[in-house]
């Protein structure tokens, strides 16, 4: 008797659980599938952390009726997701990786929509004396200082993100072999996102390279300070491109083209010129419109709509 009762109760609970699943499914109101009116963007973390993409996706929905959604990972994994045909759009900031992606035939219709600068952040007392130096010289100063001062450490993203790529380039520009740098005692490879890397840098009171948008989002929690800013070697250009329908026949090309044109439209470019001022004091991103020369790209890449 007891057994039958408990089986009944178990069935009741399972039923309730199922019901709960169904009810919440209705409330959440999300379809589980890609469709003609869904656009999936694989993107770098900085565009997400600032809240910019949420805002743009809302506007895009109003303008076109298309639901755009994003998964925010580093540039490296975002491009991999796109290579596996799992995204319609990629928005990243690593020119070299983007070129490879386009050359392989995966990327098409790249447009440059905005830029900002990386920052070298570090402890306020600046033991490596990088303040006032240019980007490359600052990296060299850190390497030199580590020989005498064991408190000087550099924390690297170490995750193949756009920021990590630039950091590797900066070591190269400074005349170092990255393999040597990477195996140094003072070089800490975090293998984490920008937020975690900044938190780790804070704990270690070290130096790290950060994109300015992420820095603007996280700085209130940190005692670190930006030591080198607005250096031309720190230029950080954001690009948008669609995943080619020749490699991935299932992608939502129509919506992807609309999204690219949306990103270079006056509507979005105007948003970029003010986005973040309230929270951050200055915008997180500078609009790409009219800044082709600063960004080192052709004028067409900033304004020609894709067809």
């Amino acid at each position: 008797m007891i057994g039958r009762l408990s089986i009944g109760v178990i069935a009741l609970v399972l039923g309730a659980i199922l019901l709960c699943g169904v009810v919440s499914a209705e409330k959440v109101d999300t379809l589980g599938e890609h469709s003609a009116d869904r656009l999936l963007i694989a993107t770098t973390t900085s565009l997400d952390a600032t809240g910019l993409l949420d805002l743009l996706e809302e506007k895009f929905k109003e303008d076109t009726g298309v639901t755009a959604e994003h998964v925010a990972k580093g540039t490296g994994i975002s491009l991999q997701i796109a290579r596996d045909c799992n995204a319609d759009i990629v928005m990243v900031h690593d020119r070299v990786a983007e070129d490879a992606f386009i050359d392989e035939g995966f990327g098409a219709d790249r447009r440059v929509f905005g830029y900002n600068y990386f920052l070298l952040v570090g402890p306020e007392n600046d033991p490596a004396k990088v303040t006032g130096l240019n980007g490359t010289a600052a990296f060299m100063a850190i390497e030199k200082a580590t020989a005498e001062d064991p408190s000087v450490v550099f924390v690297s993203r170490g995750d193949n993100s756009g920021t990590h790529s630039r950091e590797k380039l900066l070591w190269k520009w400074g005349g170092y072999d990255y393999a040597d740098i990477n195996s140094s005692e003072w070089y800490r490879e975090a293998g984490l996102g920008m937020g975690e890397t900044l938190t780790m840098t804070e704990e270690l009171q070290g130096y790290t390279l950060s994109d300015s948008a992420s820095w603007g989002t996280y700085e209130s929690n940190l005692s670190l300070v930006p030591l080198v800013e607005n250096d031309e070697k720190f230029l950080n250009v954001y690009a948008v491109m669609r995943v080619s329908d020749e490699k991935c026949p299932d992608v939502n090309t129509d919506a992807a083209k609309k999204w690219i044109n949306f990103m270079i439209s006056d509507e979005v470019q105007d948003i970029l010129s003010t986005y973040g001022v309230e929270k951050n004091g200055v915008p997180y991103f500078s609009p790409g419109r009219g800044s082709a020369e600063v960004m080192g790209v052709t004028d067409e890449e900033t304004k020609d709509p894709v067809v």
Partner: protein, 228 residues
């Protein structure tokens, strides 16, 4: 200490204010976890019973493999499911990657070994005298199975609770397959991971408290059922 207190305070504020974003995240979590536990239960318990009551070549090895899979890292399950559900993968046509359905798929795979393994352990722990008695009374196959499951019900319930706990608390599979899309595949654990990476420790802690509160309620319900 101060941070901890603020975290608790934030949690209560979020719950009391019924913050719509937190509500969506919580409902998504419940939906995905419950569905995976339900599917996982329907697969693992019959599977565990079949393995326990049948004699076949390689049975001990199979049980060892199942027990080894308890240690399967959630990120590896995430990665495998990514490859399976990817457009270029075998189940790419389902288009489940970065959707709640994909997450249910991943979490179900994640919890099956542990639930099946614990079911086997539960059934094996039944006193052989009982088994013999049931057999000697001429029970049909169905009656035999039913009486064994009844006999082991507490331990099987524990298997379900462990499966539920693993599903609701894991982050590796959820972030890899779900992609942490706001309002769509963001669940409590991926939200905690995101907020932590953004340095919002209070909010993370608050979400953690909500998750534990859910687990507590489920355990209370299960405990109530057990005591009947």
């Amino acid at each position: 200490m101060n941070d901890l207190l603020t975290g608790v305070e934030t949690a209560f504020n979020l719950i009391l204010a019924a913050d719509p974003e937190v509500l969506t995240i919580t409902l998504t979590t419940l939906r995905i976890t419950f569905t995976s536990v339900l599917i996982g239960t329907l697969i693992s318990i019959p599977l565990g019973a079949a393995i326990t009551f049948r004699e076949f070549w390689g049975k001990k090895t199979l049980i060892s493999i199942i027990q080894t899979l308890y240690a399967l890292p959630t990120v590896i399950v995430g990665l495998l499911c990514y490859m399976i559900l990817s457009r270029s993968g075998p189940l790419g046509d389902l288009k489940w990657l970065f959707t709640p359905n994909g997450m249910i798929f991943g979490q179900t795979i994640l919890i099956i070994p542990i639930m099946a393994g614990l079911t086997i352990a539960a059934l094996q722990a039944i006193d052989p005298i009982i088994t013999d008695t049931i057999r000697s009374l001429g029970a049909t196959r169905f009656q035999f199975l039913k009486s064994h499951l009844r006999e082991a019900r507490f331990a099987i319930m524990a298997a379900i609770i462990v499966g539920f706990s693993r599903a609701i608390s894991e982050v590796g599979t959820a972030i890899m397959i779900g992609g942490n899309i706001k309002g769509h595949t963001r669940v409590l654990t991926t939200a905690i991971s995101l907020q932590t990476s953004m340095g919002n420790f209070n909010l993370s802690l608050a979400l953690g408290i909500i998750l534990l509160a859910i687990a507590l309620i489920i355990n209370l319900i299960m405990g109530f059922v057990q005591n009947r």
